[in-house]
């Protein structure tokens, strides 16, 4: 694992995700335990007035978690939160990005605060988040 860059303003290496397929949504439903049919059953999506199923918010959050654990060992993650701002359509191509916004000493631990974002190829932001990560 590469050593994290330890300065405010540092950007994490962006993580590009394969286009979201229906297969991915089915696999994620089973593996995550989120069986809400709106993500996997076109009939249910249509009955709700939608044209198609759409990606689980928690799938995008799992991708953001990959951005974090690709940067620091998981046991250093203290908090991780997101707001879901738009749905991810089937075939959407998400990219996860993060920036170090502050570094503070909290309870004897150096903590980096990151702002996080997932953006689709068309520019739509689907998640805005933050995380705190111990640096030592």
């Amino acid at each position: 694992m590469t050593t994290p860059v330890l300065e405010v303003g540092a950007e994490l290496p962006p993580l590009t995700i394969e286009p979201i397929s229906r297969t991915t949504l089915a696999l994620f439903a089973g593996a995550s335990g989120d069986h809400n049919p709106i993500h996997i059953d076109l009939d249910v999506a249509r009955s709700a007035g939608l044209d198609d199923v759409f990606g689980h918010g928690m799938l995008s959050m799992a991708h953001l978690a990959r951005l974090l654990t690709g940067w620091v060992p998981q046991e250093r993650i203290r908090t991780f939160g997101v707001r879901f701002t738009a749905i991810t359509p089937v075939h959407g191509r998400p990219t996860c990005t993060g920036t170090v916004t502050s570094i503070d000493e909290v309870d004897g631990e150096r903590l980096a605060t990151l702002t996080l974002r997932v953006t689709l190829a068309d520019g739509t932001t689907t998640l805005i988040g933050d995380a705190t990560v111990a640096l030592d």
Binding site: I17, E18, T24, L27, F28, G30, A31, S32, G33, D34, H35, N36, I38, V44, S47, A48, H56, G57, M58, L59, M61, A62, H63, A65, R66, L68, T69, G70, P73, Q74, E75, I77, R78, T79, F80, G81, V82, R83, F84, I87
Partner: protein, 154 residues
């Protein structure tokens, strides 16, 4: 019809999940995770882990293992099709691994509305503990209920 505010404080059934390596590998596959510590036991152990680590957001699903994981919405009179996940937050206390049995206990901690009731928000706080009773993580989820505007009568 507005969601019954008296549900604030209501305890929710929660779930229990014995974490298996195969389930974690399925989760890695579905999320495109190729880091070997999440799929390969030897790689995990070499990195200092006692088994495959439970990745950061996987614990969300522990709460969904009951027979009807969305029944709390049903009991509030909410159509699952009208619900969007608005926010999700985790505070981590301890790592969890394959072989652990995780249990969630949750409660509804707030219900509020915006846009004159067109959007309602249900806030749920959940604790995740392991088989030793140790706190693994705390979760806060906000579900957004999209109510339809009443039909205008002419």
């Amino acid at each position: 019809m507005p969601i019954d505010r008296s549900a604030i404080g209501r305890e929710l059934p929660g779930g229990t999940l014995l974490i298996t390596r195969s389930r974690l590998r399925d989760f890695a596959k579905a999320t495109g995770q190729t880091d070997p510590i999440y799929v390969d036991l030897d790689a995990a152990k070499q990195a200092g882990h006692r088994d495959l680590p439970v990745p950061p957001t996987f614990v969300f699903g522990v709460d969904l293992t009951g027979p009807d994981s969305f029944s709390y919405l049903d009991e509030l009179g909410i159509d699952l099709r009208s619900v969007l996940h608005g926010e999700q937050r985790f505070t981590y206390h301890e790592m969890a691994y394959a072989g652990d049995e995780l249990t969630t206990t949750g409660r509804i901690t707030d219900i509020y509305d915006k846009k004159g009731g067109l959007l309602e928000f249900v806030v749920k706080d959940t604790k995740v503990t392991n088989q030793h009773g140790a706190l693994v993580a705390e979760m806060r989820g906000v579900m957004v209920v999209q109510n339809r505007a009443p039909e205008v009568t002419r």
